[in-house]
Symmetry: C2
Subunit: 259 residues, 2 copies
């Protein structure tokens, strides 16, 4: 199972791989997120208070608050001084159409509920219209992929995705599992880079014939294109992806917290 869980046993776990030790507050956030998604807190008021969490996990309030801050940013919970922390009802989320994606974690979560099989294409230059839109230089022959993202129980795909990986990441590309959920997740594991920043451009366009037929749409149907650029800590762009979604059947949903 896509083990992201470190959990109880403090076993130092010196996996030789590059996975550095996660801060405690992120581990805690992962545990709490799983608990929420698993349904451990069915009623909105079931979520523990900060002080309870401090004791239960034997960490300081700072650590608890950092974890809860993350879950708040993800829209999983809502907090209010004086009353407490409540899990956000699944009402607004997961309408059949909605895909909440307000941060990278949620991109992963969204990917987890869907399946995709990429096909490796010949490496080459990135299409002109894509380069223009992102307004950054992306020279050289990038490794190209193409896939169709499906959601269980639906006939038609929710996206057709094209992606390009930086020419220097040949080692990682060679090991890519073409049936995994996301490319950048694998590149993070295989390569030495990790995502620090993502930019997105969202547009409504007329789909090309190819795209339309793959999405099961008709001529003239609008298509939502999401162009993503992935940057590492040193601000190097290492992956570009273009996803084409059926306009009427798909909504890109996000929320913004004010601080």
């Amino acid at each position: 199972m896509s083990g992201r869980e470190k959990l109880a046993a403090k076993a130092p776990a010196k996996s030789k791989n590059a996975s550095k030790k996660k801060p405690r507050y992120l581990e805690l956030a992962d545990e709490l997120r799983e608990a929420v998604l698993r349904g451990d807190y069915p009623d909105p008021g079931d979520f523990p208070t900060e002080s309870v969490l401090c004791k239960k996990y034997d960490v300081s309030r700072f650590t608890v608050r950092e974890a809860l801050r993350k879950l708040t940013a993800e829209g999983l919970i809502t907090r209010k001084r004086g009353s407490g922390t409540v899990v956000q009802p699944a009402t607004a989320r997961a309408g059949a159409l909605h895909q909440p994606l307000s941060n990278v974690g949620e991109i992963l979560q969204y990917a987890r509920d869907t399946t995709i099989a990429f096909e490796k294409k010949k490496a080459g230059a990135i299409p002109k219209d894509v380069v223009e839109q992102i307004g950054a230089k992306a020279d050289g022959d990038w490794f190209a992929f193409r896939g169709k993202r499906m959601k269980p129980g639906r006939k038609r795909p929710i996206a057709v995705t094209e992606a390009w990986v930086h020419p220097e990441l040949a080692d990682a590309v060679a090991q890519i599992d073409v049936n995994a959920t996301t490319l950048f997740g694998q590149i993070e594991t295989l390569g030495e880079v990790s995502v620090a920043r993502v930019t997105q451009d969202i547009q409504a366009i007329k789909g090309t014939k190819d795209i339309l037929s793959e999405l099961g749409l008709e001529k003239g149907d609008p298509v939502l294109r999401i162009l993503r650029c992935y940057f590492d800590e040193s601000d190097r762009m290492f992956e570009i992806s273009a996803s084409y979604h059926p306009g009427e059947r798909f909504a890109y949903s996000m929320h913004i917290e004010v601080d």
Copy 2:
């Protein structure tokens, strides 16, 4: 010594409007933001370190870090362990087409560069398709507005916006300046609510005849619809807006920081 400035008498300030006392870290963020925008740190490396800021403003590191966290979220600065804090060059910002909107502050900034004149319409129920899409109840007769958003130097509008304001905010609605940049900004000032959360749904749709002609588009051109719901601190939805953008001429652009 200086300990903590109790701030002279708490000026009661019972203005019905909400001019509550701002936390120190937000004040600090405001000061630093102004300094950056004023150009006090022309070179990227000029920005002070945390310890310098602690001394200069006589606050703890926690307070400094909260302020810097805010500026980081706004994309104003970038921070790296070991090297320091650098102001983000204005290079990437403000592509002609791009409208970065990853937080409410940026929605406001985007509005600042554009103009809009709203027209008050008759209050009434919210259209069915909108209600369905947001998946929340919005009963009663909401105050309706409609406007066209223009960008200086461009002939065609970048958006047609419809908005609805909660029936209970009649007082605020009565005072609304129909030529201001945003409705929710005014409602915040006039009413007793303030934005705590925004949700957005983005879709590619076929525009109606009305919308298309107002945007200067032709039949069959795709339209990007952004549906926003504004919530206050008590999670009450007090405004809904639907913006229709020309698909090919407009990109919704955002960036996500990974934490």
